[in-house]
Symmetry: C2
Subunit: 373 residues, 2 copies
Amino acid sequence: MDKSKSVKTQLMILFGENTDIEGIDVKNACFGGTQALFGAIDWIKANHETDDRLAIAVMADIAVYAADGPRCTGGAGAIALLIGPDAPIVFEDGLRACYMKNSWDFYKPIGGIASEFPLVEGEESLNCYLSALDACYATYKKKTNKILQKDRSLSDFHSILFHSPFYKLVQKAFARLVFTDYVAGQISLPNEQKLEKFKDKELSDTCSDREFASETRIASLHLLEEKVEPNMTLNRRIGNMYTPSLYAELITLLSRIEDVQSFNNQRVLLFSYGSGLASAMFSVVFNITPETTSAFEKMRTVSKNAINRLDQREKHSPEVYNEIMMTRQKLVERKGAGIPSASLNGISQHLFPGTYYLVKIDDKSRRVYDQVQ
Amino acid sequence: MDKSKSVKTQLMILFGENTDIEGIDVKNACFGGTQALFGAIDWIKANHETDDRLAIAVMADIAVYAADGPRCTGGAGAIALLIGPDAPIVFEDGLRACYMKNSWDFYKPIGGIASEFPLVEGEESLNCYLSALDACYATYKKKTNKILQKDRSLSDFHSILFHSPFYKLVQKAFARLVFTDYVAGQISLPNEQKLEKFKDKELSDTCSDREFASETRIASLHLLEEKVEPNMTLNRRIGNMYTPSLYAELITLLSRIEDVQSFNNQRVLLFSYGSGLASAMFSVVFNITPETTSAFEKMRTVSKNAINRLDQREKHSPEVYNEIMMTRQKLVERKGAGIPSASLNGISQHLFPGTYYLVKIDDKSRRVYDQVQ
């Protein structure tokens, strides 16, 4: 059987003439994927009694920076999550804690700047991320108190997953959660006397405090190695994928599970952040039953395969990467209108069979795609 | 009490530091508002057992065309729908029929074209709208058959509301639905012998057929005057508002209701369309009970006020309008970066107290707003 034809047929079923598919693009920097996920969960809960379809949240991004920006931190990744009732991973009801604020920490301006590269205010963006984290964790605790009549702490979770632009920020973020638990009297730490003096400070004043960062890092290192670091394999080897970043950690976590049964009822805490800003903290619990085991096994297999595929990547020099980026940039800025991108650099040779790729942007700004045979 | 301060305080509560608000912008031409509405409905259904907050779907657009485009058809409007459980207007479960297709009928290109004006393929866009309508109505009928064990027809609805770029298209659209009912044997029409010859044609081949349009118009005129025309007051006097367009008809309908009790259990069919394209047909039923009457009365009052406010508008010449548009265009294209828009044309004098308006776009493309005192 011709494999590329099979892919085409599937896509036509999904995107053909008579489609009754609901949902449109959801965009908000790195948070867009999480909102799509929330929408998919709500759709299933609200509609599954009258509609037996499943929902898909597809998270994909063009995570690229200008040549003079932090280009080396950008990565490429896409993740799709299939959402349905009675699943092996359950999103906990009522425990979505959001925080939204107007900020200009990282954004893609429209009008006048004919480029797809973002403007990044590095320091501002880190502070926004950490403040959003603090606010979400405070709200998450309040919600657990209201719904479960107990303030949850990090000890309730097998793993804590974070949106991860780069690992250092995740370390810093995790350390703040540990400190928050410590102030609430929910945890004992090795260097408590060093942390004492930060207890009376406003948490928001500590975002750029180096001593605070250093001491909370020391305080949280043993927990970091247990609950955070083991789930970073994909993120550390790929770089920032934007929307899929947080969910790549879930995939790494799934790939690590050996004793399936022992994982039943384990909880995971997730923190999603998108500049601008939109953020949320929420939790999932594993639900391994005779009915869900087969789906869970599939998830594990897919996840292990994702990790294994890291070694199949082709290595290219920064010069080649920059050249490919320049081709794309010309296309997007319409300086290359009419010139097929793939033929310019032979990009299509490096794509999987069945992949759609941008061929040109015509004189009416319409995008034309072709498919790898 | 200073009224502008009161507005500011409310906004700070909504958008201040400690916000646990969920949801981000949803954009897809004129369909974005409907998707936000669907998301709000699903959110309430999925979360109201653990969360007593309500949801708001805010629909607002910059419905403007270039000076050489169909500028006279553009209007300005914004509508917010408050969604909660046990409401006087109920969205019917399982009866959302969607149709999505890739098309370039009307779009705002990014990259290279530093303008917010859309590119419009007039003929193409009308055909897309009508094909989407046909597909949604076919799917809607199928769903009623599956869920209610009966194919609904237009006779089941008090009113039919359409996304309305201009009224002629709505007339054409309604006529097609009437023809579809006729082919299904669900309705008798005055000029049946003239319609007979179109029965065997593919419906999709009739989109640009003038004779078809003319005969179905004659066939449907009496029903148009009963179920469509009376709800067009806002749309005809404002012009195309994009996302709020469909919901402006719902407001007109609410403003018309005199005998509240007789409206209980009445149904309304809605068709939403966004170029690109995304579309949906769905239905609501009025639920007037002792518990919902007070909320329903509020809706009626708000709706009547909206109609009355039409007469409070200020009249300006096309020249003044074009001048204001040019100020805005300069700002958006960043040619006027740093120049306050409001002071250029005294725009702020014409805004309600409390209104936020764009003051400038700075050299980093950040937008700065001020508020009318």
